[in-house]
């Protein structure tokens, strides 16, 4: 049976299981007294953590990691030092909790969100899966190979990220456990002072992306029905909330994630998924969630698509980027290449020169010098 089939089938299988009776963690010190099967599950989770590090699957931005961890600590102050948040370098929409207190959120998920309250919604939900030992409950109910150990067992050789993402998909719990995570996570949001009206919006954004990009992944946060359940669940909770005041911390979130968002766009282009960039950025409302440099990536996406009229659209997008952030060098390079290809050497040289001025240590400096020299020789012809 292929990985994907297991990934698709297992959540359905899991959802139908009855959960066993498992005591929740009452305090962080409870983790010191776990034994037996639960201890083995904990150990397997720690091995999984190590594999993520060894395989370089983590997004290593210390500042961003510190920020995300600080939000988790705000939500679960008593578990500070027990719950560790990691960021996985993957464009897929996913986040998941391991039974040892490791909680992972994908870069793709972070880049889709608009503010800290929305990120906190996801983290609060995942935190409940850990504190309430949902993976252990699910494992006991299966009475056979656990979903988690199945995932771990599958991680062999390279590449392994497929397996890692499979594990994430396996972490779609039963409806009851997910509702429990929504409800208790929501309480955490309220208590931490977040704007709880943002919680259903979080999943609405994700659902819009799933629909717009026609995402077919089986992961919990990219599953259409699962997201609809979350929207309904959080909308109900928000409507009944005691307090409608709270903060969304949009500026803080945007400042912390702007580089990540641009890197994600770059990653999409690097793997040839220009259509994803076009879909993500085509609406002006969506572009507002991205820094203005995103216009450069939009231009690149048009250039790569190369449909009728796309050359003009790409140039327009490069110019918007230059106007908004004159010190951001990549659009100058793109404009230089554009003019070189259109036999306008003077303009090409001007843009290439500006590019080198802004990025004197660019990795492609050899090419640009070569192009300047080529453009200079074009001048005489």
């Amino acid at each position: 049976m292929s990985f994907r089939r297991i990934a698709l089938i297992l959540p359905v299988f899991l959802a139908a299981c009855q959960t066993g009776s498992v005591e929740h963690l009452e305090s962080p010190t409870d983790v010191q007294s776990i034994t037996g099967e639960e201890y083995r599950l904990w150990h397997a989770a720690s091995e999984f953590d190590e594999k993520l590090v060894r395989g370089h699957y983590l997004y290593e931005d210390a500042e961003l990691k510190r920020y995300v961890q600080s939000v988790m600590d705000k939500l679960y102050p008593e578990y500070k030092g027990v719950i560790h948040v990691g960021i996985i370098n993957s464009p897929d929409l996913n986040a998941f909790a391991l039974p040892n207190g490791s909680i992972y959120i994908n870069t793709g998920m972070l880049s889709r969100l608009e503010n800290e309250a929305q990120m906190a919604t996801v983290l609060a939900h995942e935190g409940v899966h850990f504190v309430n030992k949902h993976s252990f409950q699910q494992r006991r109910s299966l009475k056979q190979t656990s979903a988690f150990s199945l995932g771990i067992g599958m991680i062999t050789g390279i590449p392994a990220l497929g397996s890692i993402l499979t594990i994430s998909s396996i972490y779609g719990y039963s409806k009851d456990l997910e509702r429990e995570a929504d409800k208790e996570g929501f309480r955490r949001l309220e208590k931490a002072g977040y704007d709880v009206s943002q919680s259903p919006i979080t999943f609405q954004y994700l659902l819009t992306d799933v629909e717009t990009l026609d995402i077919k992944q089986p992961y919990f946060f990219s599953s259409h029905p699962r997201l609809e359940e979350r929207i309904e669940s959080f909308s109900n909770l928000a409507a009944k909330a005691d307090s409608q005041t709270g903060s969304s911390y949009e500026a803080e979130f945007q400042a912390e994630t702007s580089n990540l968002k641009l890197e994600l766009l770059n990653d999409y282009l690097e793997i040839g998924q220009y259509k994803s960039v076009l879909l993500i950025l085509k609406e002006e409302s969506a572009r507002k969630r991205y820094p203005p440099q995103a216009n450069y990536y939009l231009g690149e996406a048009y250039r790569l698509r190369d449909d009728e009229g796309d050359v003009k659209k790409s140039v327009d997008a490069y110019l918007v980027s230059i106007a908004a952030v004159p010190d951001f060098s990549p659009p100058y390079r793109a404009m230089g290449i554009h003019y070189m290809k259109h036999n306008e050497p003077d303009k090409a040289i001007s843009y290439f020169t500006k590019y080198l001025e802004l990025s004197p240590h660019a990795s492609d400096i050899g090419y640009i010098k070569n192009y300047i020299s080529k453009s200079q020789s074009m001048r005489g012809k």
Partner: protein, 189 residues
């Protein structure tokens, strides 16, 4: 560009990145002489190595493909352009070709090579053309660091790439000169 990339990568990347082997048998380079020629190109191969020649792709190694391998691949423009993509590969600038090569490398693995690092990316004169030369590094799941050098260019007939990969420790430095020699001797027909 999808089919183009696919062609290159079915032919090349599985061989460059993994120990995946084609059905063709290994044979000694010395047996046929170090001057290699096929329908598309000629090159001088290192003596004492083994070669495996399948379709338009040639793989050579001395100690086994896990320890070092050089892969030479050719894709005709006719094949490259016979897909939905309407862009002319022959008009791509070397940096665009390098970007495309990296893109295909990453997409062929579906983000499964997150450790892929570009150590250098520069133009290189090869066989009368300007091509790209990439120096890359990535780690396997078990933490083994692999270094890779790839040279590629396009002419009026097709796209050519020559890639060398080996574990960063010990092996990569050992046979880097052999790769340089193969690249220097390479000539499209």
């Amino acid at each position: 560009m999808k089919s183009y990339g696919l062609l290159i990568f079915i032919a090349t990347m599985t061989l460059v990145l993994s120990a995946c082997t084609t059905p063709a048998a290994w044979k000694s380079i010395d047996a046929g002489g170090s001057q290699y020629a096929n329908e598309y190109y000629t090159a001088v191969l290192p003596t004492g190595w083994m070669m495996k020649d399948a379709d338009d792709t040639l793989m050579i190694s001395r100690d086994g493909p896990d320890l070092q391998r050089i892969v030479i691949a050719y894709v005709s423009l006719e094949e490259a352009l016979s897909d939905e993509d309407k862009k002319s590969v022959s008009k791509m600038l070397p940096s665009e070709l390098a970007d495309k090569f990296i893109s295909e490398l990453k997409s062929s693995q579906g983000f499964d090579l997150p450790s892929l690092t570009i150590l250098s990316n520069e133009p290189i004169p090869i066989a009368g053309h300007t091509g790209f030369k990439l120096h890359l590094m990535y780690s396997t799941d078990k933490g083994l660091r692999i270094e890779m050098l790839s040279v590629g260019f396009v002419d009026e007939d097709g796209f050519y790439s020559i890639s060398y990969s080996a574990p960063a420790i010990h092996y990569f430095a050992n046979d880097r000169d052999q790769f340089t020699s193969v690249v220097s001797s390479f000539q499209p027909k």
